[in-house]
Amino acid sequence: MIDCTQYRRIVLADPHAASPELAEHLAHCGECPAYRERLLRFEGRITRALRVDADVTPLRAQVPPLRRRRNGWLAMAASLVVALLVGTLWLGAPHTSLAADVVAHMAGEPLAWARTDVPVPAADLAPVLAEAHMRLRPDAGMVSYAQSCLFRGHHVPHLVVQTDMGPVTVMVLVHENVAAARMFDEGGYRGTIVPLPDRHGSIAVLVKGDEGDLAQVESVAARVKAAIVWTG
């Protein structure tokens, strides 16, 4: 059996490392479980720190000297065009942070990703959907997981639809209106955020990076979107 030093060396290199030797040590050691817990908390902080907001553009105001020296009127005209273009895109696209928040939410519910052929009982699914004033027609697919989750201050349905290629997560973000569909690939998840008609918000549909492709995501998004029936 490995000792504490060996255990800690391994988990410092990879806090999520898993092996029978590590599990055995953890089960019998009096100190390493607490050590690992602290390490995982620190790992969470590292993850948050690395996820700088890629849409933040503070340096646009600090144009490097090389760029500032460019011909005045040309630079101003170009800046105006770029600003208009960026502004249009900013208004026309959901903020990346919405995708990032969805991805961050996934980390809290790893059990939702299980492959299964057992559907959530209708009696359990209905109240989750009812909170968002909706129901789903059966052609949405087999829902294997349904939870009402707190997301950005609102309770929203967090569903998992099983497909031939594996589980696909769907979050119905009734409070998040977006202007256009946008794909994302962040933090090991790939997906899309699709607007729902009549300003009913949007749905985020995503898969784990190694368990599906964007075509599959788009297909599920279209199916679920078409299967939503608003009840209020």
């Binding site: 290199a13 948050r48 907001d53 794909m183």
Partner: protein
Amino acid sequence: MTPDGIWIHVLPRGLRRDALLSSPGNHEPDVDLYMKDDVGGNVGRARFQALCQALRPDLLRFAFWLSRDFALAEDVVQETMLRAWKARDSLQSESAAKPWFLTIIRREYARTFERKRFVTVDVDELIAREEPMLAAAHDQDLAELRAALFKLPEEYREPLVLQVLMGYSTAEIAAELGLSTGAVLTRLFRARKQLRVLCGEDASMDPADGAPEDAPEDPEP
């Protein structure tokens, strides 16, 4: 025009931001990096743009942590997308796109580094310059950790970013960086150990510096 009939109008580096970020319908000729094929646009181009749009946040983050300079990261990502577009035939599938882009980013960053012949920079100066980015979350704890990440040697920072942010396995990091898995584990071990000290974490229970089990020793950078 490229040999395969693609028009690429390129504006100066600093004006090319978000060139591939917009949906195809949002482009104006000669306003931004604009790609037009001889038949007036096709699915492949739109798909490529969508792919770039989806990957851009993580690519930008990776380039930022590589360079510790957001403006440079933006330029590197733009150059990367341009090179990727030109070499798009070598992309086998969308699922392989991210590692493919990351490899191009690393090469492009290395080229930039060679071209600019950077002199040694003061880390505190870098931190001060990137302060708006580091403190964007208005969270002191986060800002301190980001500053600590800035202080990590590149040899430790890069594998850490690949592991934590990009979800790479040890073997994938080793392949990307051209190292043995043992050397990667050593660097990851040292990265976290240094970070914990820099952030004032209780490191009294951390093992002494050394390679993780089964890992050949990697010399200090």
